[in-house]
């Protein structure tokens, strides 16, 4: 069971306290109505599936409840880093 560092609690906690929330840094367009069908499709459905470094959102759902971002290696399952929502991509 992986230990995940919550950047809000600043503690490493077991993964059962957390829930994965999909790919990180997929921002909702500010004006969805101006999006073309292709742009909107890309926002809704098209996600990366990298082998290696992957930016993900996690929620400390059974803890502080905050969403945060993480970089996890999809091969080794190791977390490289976690950081608060809104901080720049690492």
């Amino acid at each position: 069971m992986i230990l995940i560092h919550c950047p809000y609690c600043d503690e490493k906690r077991p993964e059962i306290e957390f829930a994965n929330a999909g790919q990180a840094h997929v921002a909702r367009p500010l004006d969805p109505s101006s999006q073309s069908d292709e742009e909107w499709e890309a926002y809704l459905f098209i996600r990366a599936n990298p082998r290696g470094r992957h930016h993900e959102r996690w929620r400390h759902v059974h803890g502080c409840g905050r969403f945060f971002n993480a970089v996890r290696d999809t091969v080794t399952d190791k977390f490289e880093t976690t950081y608060k929502a809104g901080e720049p991509r690492r």
Partner: protein, 953 residues
């Protein structure tokens, strides 16, 4: 020597005889014996029948790697454990053990015919043979194969034992308490580290238990470790898996070694998080591969030493050794000193050290260098062996009752591999050893490839003059895989060891190839003429040895499998005969049958009562979220399809929630209490999902909004009073709220008190009748309910359950998200476009409502269905076709989502999702059901009081 028990030696307590039974016969052993050692002491050599060929099998090893001697232990009703290794079962008074996979008896086994037919069972036999006819597989082939080929019987009764589980944290976890593990613990003991030392056996010592010279050291070390306050010792504990971040799973066996069943836990699951892990799992001796190497009486030489030195048991009365490694020589020297007759040492090598030769000479043991065993005589026990010279194949026969094998050593890298530590091949020992760690871990002792019992050669199959295709030289003893099978797999084109493994099943038995993997690799390597490192290595996966389901389930079974959520009113419902159903994790009253009523009758009565007078319903399970803050209205405006900003305090609104893809995910009536405060309700099952979704948008998309979300689901008991008499019943009990139609219209909320209890009183209706939903602090729920029941007696107040609630709402055309929608339904599909704010520039899901597929024609749309025969109630889920005369398979254009008998209307009603349904009003559709195809007309969804006259009173 009396029988096979040596006069002296061993760690068994000869002053404590123990009676036990095997296959119904009574035997005696000593305290400290395993089932294997005690039966060997009684001269038993036959322990089981092999998996595929039903060949007689005896003991091969002395530890948990034993592949042959799988037995079942019966501890009484529900306490039957199959597939235990006789070498790991401690005997106790009354132990009742049985052999497996034989019929009618171990000695006369009908299935042994498979052995005579062995030439017809090559690798991949099942895959090749039972292909045709296809339909025979499920009914004939598979059940027959399962009956013939197998392990022990699965228990059939519920397990009455208790299984505990716990978490533990330590700085240093040492797995394996042999000399290397003990040394690691002694070394760290002086620090202030919290140390866990765990071992699968019943006492510390590992290999030292078979070496009497080490016993004084062992006893000193054991005392020191027990006295150390920072050392926790867990024996009878198997570390079965090594997971991320130094998380180790271990099962401690607490009571199986005791004579009586008890109420205390049978096993305990330990989940241990360790700062550092030291693996000291030792090494496993490798069998040699030759014809007849599975005959009872053929075993590992190290095992014979364990049986002699630890248990005081001679594995035979005349013993020969076939070896490729110095360690075999040392083992038989130890046996000779313990009083076992050694007939011969046969070594495949031409050169061995003069020290070994001298010692053999001194002990009077015949030595045959450059020789191999080519055959074993005897069926239930070795009677003699054939040997021959490796160069000229000149042979000889040696009479003996036991043949030991010493094929070298395989480091136990199982847990290391679980942790994703890398391995390196070492040619000198012909084995993989730990290389680079992936966790904070290291290997010590024999499992790191370091040992002091000499060297040897690695040999895939012993030389033989016999036709290689006609001999039975076993590699995987538990799965009956021979050298021939692996060679066949290579001939048929398999190249990777992963494929060879799956085709031959080598290493796929319950022992995960502890004694077979490396021999299999060597044979494949030779057959492919490639180095071992070029053909790959199969993965080790948890568990290290088989563990019980009970240990993993722990307390999470029966009522504790998952929590059942109950409302404050649940106790009243139970006392008043409610029939319950689970909705999400909530236990909800489904209906309240009176004497003699079935569900149909009860639901009809409850529905009529609501329509004619007043019904009372426990709606406490509704999800509730308090939305507070200056931007609360703006936030809801962005989340829901409806406009919220103009909603006045004191008013309610039906809210429809989409996901960003435009599909309905939840709905509910919500109220504005103040400009900056809303009381949201969600579906019973959707509460957590909706809160998570709202938090997501609030935290990550719109962090600038000043809004707070709080789950209040469990803060309120909610009682729905529905029916024409609801106001009359309520009026005298409420203070501070004017209940008149003008002052308190439909879809309004007021705060006041009821029976002195503070309340948020909603005037809302999910039934189409005049209705109220009374929210009070949860603890008052039942008291208020009982008061309403008492005051409502004059109106013949009727409690109703979820079933009647479903009928009443369907009569009014109200949908249930998740029943009438399936995650692909838009507001337009559901006929809820009226709930979508057309002027809003944006809300979650708005852009998706213009997606090409969502505006395309032919989408499934929600409609009403009225059967031509009003007495027919369609099956929910039934498929719908346009033309019942079309050939099968018919084109299905939709399905029934809700269907009920409406007592109020005197006929059945239904909702259905039908492709293009909105354009089909009045047309006839066909619903094939068992026995008959029914006709129904497409209709609107509101079947009762379409103008809402009953609501606005």
């Amino acid at each position: 020597m009396s029988g096979y028990r040596l006069e002296n030696g061993g760690r068994v307590d000869r002053s404590r005889p123990v009676e036990f039974s095997f296959d119904g016969h009574s035997y005696q052993g000593f305290a400290g014996d395993t089932l294997a050692s005690a039966l060997l002491a009684n001269g038993i050599s036959l322990f089981g029948r092999s998996f595929k060929y039903h060949r007689p099998r005896g003991i091969m090893a002395a530890g948990s790697e034993e592949p042959n001697a799988l037995i079942s232990v019966d501890r009484g009703a529900g306490r039957f454990t199959p597939n235990l290794r006789a070498t790991s079962v401690e005997i106790h008074a009354g132990l009742s053990a049985f052999s497996q996979n034989r019929w009618p008896s171990l000695k006369r086994d009908f299935g042994a015919i498979n052995d005579r037919l062995g030439m017809f069972f090559p690798a991949g036999f099942y895959n090749k043979t039972f292909m045709w006819p296809r339909s025979f597989w499920e009914k004939l082939y598979e059940p027959a194969i399962r009956k013939m080929a197998g392990l022990g019987d699965a228990p059939t009764q519920e397990d009455p034992d208790i299984y505990a589980s716990t978490y533990a944290h330590c700085d240093l976890l040492i797995v394996g308490a042999g000399p290397a593990g003990i040394d690691a613990a002694l070394e760290a003991m002086g620090s202030n580290k919290r140390i866990f030392l765990i071992d699968e056996q019943d006492e510390l010592g590992g290999g030292a238990l078979a070496d009497p010279a080490l016993w004084p050291w062992l006893e000193r070390s054991r005392k020191a470790l027990i006295d150390a306050p920072n050392v926790t010792i867990l024996t009878r504990t198997t570390a079965f898996g090594y997971y991320h971040d130094n998380f180790i799973g271990a099962v401690q066996r607490l009571t199986d070694h005791m004579p009586d069943n008890s109420d205390s836990p049978r096993e305990k699951l330990w989940r241990i998080r360790a700062g550092e892990v030291v693996l000291a799992q030792g090494a496993i001796e490798r069998p040699l591969v030759f014809d007849g190497n599975d005959t009872p009486g053929v075993m590992l030489s190290s095992a014979a030493k364990v049986f002699a030195n630890r248990y005081g048991v001679a594995v035979g009365k005349s013993v020969a050794l076939m070896t490729a490694h110095d360690s075999g020589w040392h083992d038989v020297f130890a046996l000779a000193k313990a009083g076992v007759v050694i007939k011969a040492i046969i070594d495949v090598r031409t050169d061995v050290s003069s020290a070994l030769l001298d010692e053999a000479n001194r002990l009077g043991i015949n030595v045959h260098l450059n020789h191999s065993v080519t055959g074993v005589n005897g069926r239930h026990r070795v009677t003699s062996i054939q040997i021959c010279n490796n160069d000229d194949y000149v042979g000889a026969r040696i009479d003996c009752d036991t043949l030991l094998m010493a094929g070298g050593w395989t480091p136990s890298v199982h847990l290391w591999s679980h942790s994703k530590g890398s391995l390196a091949w070492r040619d000198d020992i012909g084995a993989y050893v730990p290389d680079q760690p992936n966790e904070n871990a290291r290997c010590v002792g024999a499992c790191s490839g370091g040992w002091d019992f000499g060297s040897g050669v690695i040999i895939d199959v012993l030389p033989t003059p016999k036709d290689q295709s006609r001999i039975k030289a076993f590699v995987d003893f538990q799965n009956d895989v021979t050298a021939k099978d692996i060679k066949l797999a290579v001939r048929e084109g398999f190249r990777s060891i992963e494929h060879i493994k799956r085709y031959t099943t080598n290493g796929m038995a319950t022992d995960q190839g502890k004694t077979s993997n490396l021999n299999g690799l060597q044979i494949a390597s030779t057959a492919l003429a490639k180095p071992v490192t070029d053909i790959g290595l199969t993965s080790f996966r948890p568990p290290y040895t088989p563990q019980t389901f009970g240990a993993f389930a722990g307390h999470a079974k029966g009522a504790l499998f998952q929590p059942t959520r109950t409302t404050n009113i649940d106790g009243w419902a139970a006392e008043n005969g409610a029939v319950f159903e689970l909705v999400a994790q909530w236990r909800r009253a489904r209906y309240f049958p009176k004497m003699g009523e079935d569900m149909h009758a009860a639901v009809n009565r409850e529905c009529v009562a609501v329509r004619s007078s007043v019904g009372i319903f426990d709606a406490s399970t509704l999800g509730k979220i308090e939305v507070v803050g200056p931007d609360a209205a703006e936030f809801l405006n962005r989340m829901y399809t409806n406009p919220w900003k103009a909603l006045e305090p004191g008013r309610c609104r039906y809210g429809l929630l989409l996901k960003e893809d435009g599909f309905i995910t939840d709905d509910g009536v919500s109220a504005r209490l103040a400009p900056d405060r809303f009381h949201l309700t969600t579906t019973t099952g959707g509460a957590a999902r909706v809160l998570n979704m709202m938090e997501d948008y609030l935290q990550t998309e719109w962090p600038d909004l000043d809004v707070w979300l709080t789950s209040t689901t469990e803060q309120y008991a909610v009682i729905a009073l529905q029916g024409p008499n609801a106001r009359k019943l309520l009026e005298p009990l409420v203070e501070g709220i004017d209940l008149s139609a003008d002052a308190f219209p439909h879809m309004a909320i007021r705060e006041g008190t009821i029976c002195g209890i503070p309340t948020r009183l909603f005037r809302v209706s999910f039934t189409g009748e005049l209705g109220f939903e009374i929210n009070v602090p949860t603890a008052y729920g039942r008291a208020l309910w009982e008061r309403l029941m008492a005051e409502g007696a004059k109106f013949d107040i009727t409690p109703y359950g979820t079933e009647a609630m479903h009928v009443l709402r369907a009569e009014k055309g109200f949908i249930i998200v998740g029943q009438d929608t399936d995650g692909t339904i838009t507001p337009f599909d559901a006929g809820l476009d009226w709930a979508v704010g057309k002027k809003k520039p944006d809300f979650v899901g708005k852009r998706s409502m213009a997606r090409p597929d969502i505006v395309a024609p032919g989408r499934k749309q929600l409609v009403g269905l009225l059967t031509n025969d009003p007495n027919v109630v369609l099956e929910e889920g039934a498929q719908i076709v346009a033309d019942p005369r079309q050939p099968i398979p018919m084109t299905m254009i939709g399905h029934v989502t809700s269907s009920y008998w409406s007592e109020t209307l005197g006929r059945s009603i239904a909702f259905a999702l039908v492709a293009g349904g909105h354009e089909m009003m009045g047309s006839t559709l066909h619903i094939p059901m068992p026995g008959k195809t029914h006709e129904a007309k497409v209709s609107g969804m509101v079947f009762y009081d379409a103008e809402g006259a009953r609501l606005h009173v």
